[in-house]
Symmetry: C2
Subunit: 319 residues, 2 copies
């Protein structure tokens, strides 16, 4: 079945509620989804990042979901290696640039005001080539999915719960390149000048409008799915690129640890699930995000960009 936003629109126009007040909100559509449409995220694909407690003494935990195969697996293997080596323990948030990114890592690496020697990296890290910034897919497979108009590619879509952009790789081929998108909350790998693609020791997350010019220029490896507010509300750095200056060194937030959730005791493992992006409910949710008809709204937008259709993710209640 070919499912596009425009065909979804036509289908829904026939069944529009008689009164606008009856139109369900996107959140309502999601909460009405059947249990089978939710996909549990494996603990091996979750990182638990523990920041030092805030000024109010409260704990600050951030949960990151890593991307599944085939995306960015070279860097993601490195991230698991770094986490299991304890390398991340004791690093800090060194850069907070408004409407751009929060970046964490070794304050003495990739920092205009580094004061000391960089930490030694563990053995066994991959050097990942730029070619892994995208994966190749057959056109027919991609056409089956929700498609959105996109200024950065032929169209944008979702694969296994992740926002991707799509473009033909060569004129005479049915091969299409698909690459992940820098939406709010996505996590990427800091790097220096090309051909360095970064190891995974420096990571950042997007805290503003999607910086899509970074797509295919930096590796995306995951997204923050819980605790985003602990990063997005940090004070901005006043140095170049939002790094904290030497005088602001005490504004760096310490990172106590980053663990792969499957390495934690079972009772400490977070449990999350996402709404399948291949199901009927997601298609209805995406259409409702593009055409809000719930009572507050006057004019439906008639479209949406992919980063304004966040994939629904929720904690699985404890048993």
């Amino acid at each position: 079945m070919i499912r596009t936003l425009s065909t979804a629109l036509v289908a829904l126009a026939l069944t529009l509620p008689a009164k606008a007040q009856d139109a369900p909100s996107p959140n309502r559509i999601v909460s009405d989804a059947s249990a089978q449409e939710w996909v549990a995220i494996q603990p091996g694909d979750l990182l638990v990042m523990t920041l030092a407690p805030g000024q109010d003494g409260k704990p600050r935990t951030v949960v990151i979901q890593l991307m599944p195969e085939p995306f960015s697996q070279g860097w993601i293997a490195n991230i698991r290696t770094l986490a299991r080596a304890g390398w991340y323990d004791g690093i800090s948030v060194n850069r907070v640039q408004d409407n751009y990114v929060v970046q964490w890592g070794d304050p003495n690496y990739d920092n205009p005001e580094a004061e000391g020697a960089a930490k030694t990296l563990p053995e066994g890290l991959n050097q990942v080539p730029e070619s892994e910034y995208l994966v190749t897919r057959q056109r027919d497979e991609l056409l089956k999915r929700t498609r959105l108009s996109d200024p950065y590619s032929e169209w944008s879509s979702f694969i296994d719960g992740w926002p991707v952009a799509v473009k033909q790789t060569t004129v005479h081929s049915m091969d299409y390149g698909a690459w992940p998108i820098h939406c709010y909350g996505m996590v990427g790998v800091g790097r220096n000048m090309s051909p360095d693609t970064g190891s995974g020791a420096e990571l950042y997350t997007v805290i503003g409008h999607a910086p899509r010019h970074l797509d295919r220029n930096i590796a995306l490896v995951g997204r923050v799915i819980s605790g985003m507010e602990h990063l997005s509300s940090l004070p901005r750095g006043s140095g170049d690129l939002g790094f904290y200056t030497t005088e602001e060194a005490d504004m760096r937030t310490p990172i106590l640890s980053i663990r792969v959730a499957s390495d934690l005791p079972a009772e400490e493992q977070p449990a999350f699930e996402y709404l399948s992006t291949e199901g009927e409910t997601f298609a209805r949710y995406a259409e409702a995000r593009a055409n809000r008809r719930d009572p507050f709204f006057i004019v439906p937008a008639g479209g949406a960009d992919i980063c304004n259709i966040p994939v629904p993710i929720r904690a699985i209640p404890g048993e």
Copy 2:
């Protein structure tokens, strides 16, 4: 002269620097603009919002540029009336919703946990109709400007330094509707259910990915041009829609005053200018934002959405 991003692309391809390292960054293009391409913002179009000092005791000033005619003038007249009546003095930031908005106003109005009676509004406020959410323009005039592919309209563009979306109003007309866009930092008018369009007493600014579904559903009146970090880094509220709960009442940031800059003593008036969006430099800047060729980048994006092309604004150095 018809100027579109695609024609700009063709023109620039002929003059591409021999080495990628020579390609100027967007910021460099802007800093090389001639003085004549910068437009001074009138003090009557600037609001100075003074928040209570932060925990570090430092002052927190936010400067907002109001939109020029013909956009949203009914609400903007109200905002000047409210500022001149001192109505805003002593209100607070009551709502901080991650990846969405920071909202300020009377904590006892439009707040799910209001505890007391709402403040009385001054005389002389306009009731503004929904029809003022957009303005009408002739197609020929709009075609002269930089045009961008846009999932929410026929195309997006810039008018007098502001991002707008454009769509034909009726099939058999050359009239086009143009409306301002909810990019990061834009300021809008909180409202209740339609047909209420809000008075201007409740204002918000965007602190996340552009919530474009609000375009034509809420009035936009301006943008934060300085001090955005004082709003975007505030702690998120844990109540519905990011409002601070009753238990979090002490997290509301007090607003000491909001003044129209032209009402301040000359030496206290902020002075800002923006890069004309009708000039050659802006067209080159927009093209460079869409196709980064400065040394860090590997793959130019081949496009950009309008909120990823922020209009350059800078303080005019004191004389």
